[in-house]
Amino acid sequence: MFEQIEGSQAVAKAIALCRPEVICAYPITPQTHIVEGCAEMIRTGAIQNCEFINVESEFAALSVAIGSSAAGARTYTATASQGLLFMAEAVYNAAGLGLPIVMTIGNRAIGAPINIWNDHSDSMALRDAGWIQLHAETNQEAADLHIQAFKLAERLSAPVMVCMDGFILTHAYERVAIPDQAQVDAFLPPYQPRQILDPADPYTIGAMVGPEAFMEVRYLAHDKLLQALSVIPEIQQEFKEVFGRESGGLFHGYRVEDAETVVVTMGSLAGTVKDLVDEVRENGAKIGVITLCSYRPFPLDGLRHALQGAAKVIVLEKSLALGFGGVLAADVRTALHGRDTHIHTVIAGLGGRPITRKSLARMFARVERDDLKDPHFLDLDLDIVRREIDNQRSQITAGPIAENILREIGPCGPKAV
């Protein structure tokens, strides 16, 4: 049934339909509304047979999730930004132990300087931890991906992060079809753990593994994520059969078939890009967009195939590897290795900077003219940057950069939208 609902509440309802048995989380913006919604449903009895565990930190949240998942309970948690970093050690452990925990990331920038707004720095920082990472384009897809995530996690015995853009999705009200319980029950069978910690029949998980076996164990973890490349589309298809909707999969293409230029992006930004693609196509430009849903595992072969007709590829990403450049762009370059495709890296929207059609259209035009330096930083104010570089060079006591920039922009600067 369609509801006009906040993204976070839609996700909370989707989680409830998955019959979780343990939910533990520590509040952090912009994820908080999701676990508040879950907690409320446990209090009112809308979620049955589920324990909500209050914890003292994100590290504790995921540690409790590891314990409950190992004990055989379907387990859910959510976090963002510094919260994800604070639980980083447990993130690797959950994957290493093969525990099918589902965790929402309300994608948010990482400090310092402190910033509560959206970009993809947080989940990107943990991209190599052995979790499957799925990115939602809309709130409908965010809700649907959580239902798929439990099935995927439990089929592979691997944890899944469902990433959704903080505020842009978590706090947006839009139309979402909330499935009914019978549909979800038909799609998602009860959890049958591969391993259960049971005091009556004790055994050890998480043993020390030395040089004689560690390579093999790690290789198998890699192989498990590569298996997900075929399991993710299977589950996408199974989902479609039950719910009648296209959600999830490895990536979605939009007007890519005849496109000479293809934008590759992730998350909610795809909607804005699609609107712009329609606009510029009216002027004859052959452009399309590919939205990655599965970032880990990364669909190298699928993407290479999908981009075979593109002369130019624009990787539009909300992440920056400091001292290197684009994070997603590096993966796309690996996928297109050996081809003479022109690949442009465009870093946009860091710390919640609005990404507008106007700025994207200007950037597209520069790509058409082959007039874009790589990497390109969308809407970066170069004058301010240059002045601060000079300032830092010219005086040893130049002071903190973030505060200097804030002083220069002022409280109502043009970027303070």
Binding site: Q4, F167, Y173, R175, A270, T272, C412, V417
Partner: protein, 173 residues
């Protein structure tokens, strides 16, 4: 303000529109200036940029009128509702609003009506009533239904009454 955008989106949804409401994600502290946006359309709304050229602007706090560039992007074919007892001339906006069609601008004493009907200075629902009356994009009935969905019971009824009061004040004007 965020609730107003949410309720407007629900009212539009009840009439079969696609609607998208979202806050400006400003500083999360009470009292800070807040902007919230709402888009209505007949088809799926994919765009995620902030609304930069609104068709309608609802100003909940008139003390912001001369502090922030509120009217940036508002087309003079659009609609303007300000929560105030004063006239646009008294607010120093007499010349500015002359550019709009007369039935596209209004002032409503929404805070007073909120105090009268709800007992608290929460003007957003009354402003939605005024918006519905002026733009005719959503009906008063849908606004009242959205309000009652958000605030079940007496609070919803009181808010709906404030919306109806504002709606009638525009329609009989």
């Amino acid at each position: 303000m965020v609730s107003a955008a949410e309720m407007l989106s629900v009212a539009a949804f009840l009439e079969g529109y696609h609607a998208q409401a979202f806050p400006s994600f400003g500083s999360e502290r009470m009292g800070a200036p807040v902007v919230a946006f709402c888009r209505l359309d007949d088809k799926e709304i994919r765009l995620r940029e902030p609304v930069m050229t609104p068709d309608a602007l609802i100003v909940q706090d008139p003390t912001l009128l001369h502090q922030v560039d509120l009217f940036n992007g508002l087309d003079t074919r659009g609609y303007l509702v300000v929560n105030t007892r004063r006239s646009y001339r008294d607010l120093g906006l007499g010349d500015y609003v002359k550019k709009f069609p007369p039935h596209h601008i209004s002032t409503v004493a929404a805070t007073e009506w909120a105090l009268e009907y709800i007992g608290r200075p929460l003007p957003n629902v009354a402003l939605l009533g005024a918006f519905a009356a002026m733009t005719r994009r959503v009906t008063l009935e849908s606004v009242m239904a959205a309000v009652r969905q958000k605030f079940p019971g007496k609070l919803g009824d009181d808010n709906a009454a404030a919306a109806a009061k504002a709606y009638d004040s525009i329609r009989t004007n």
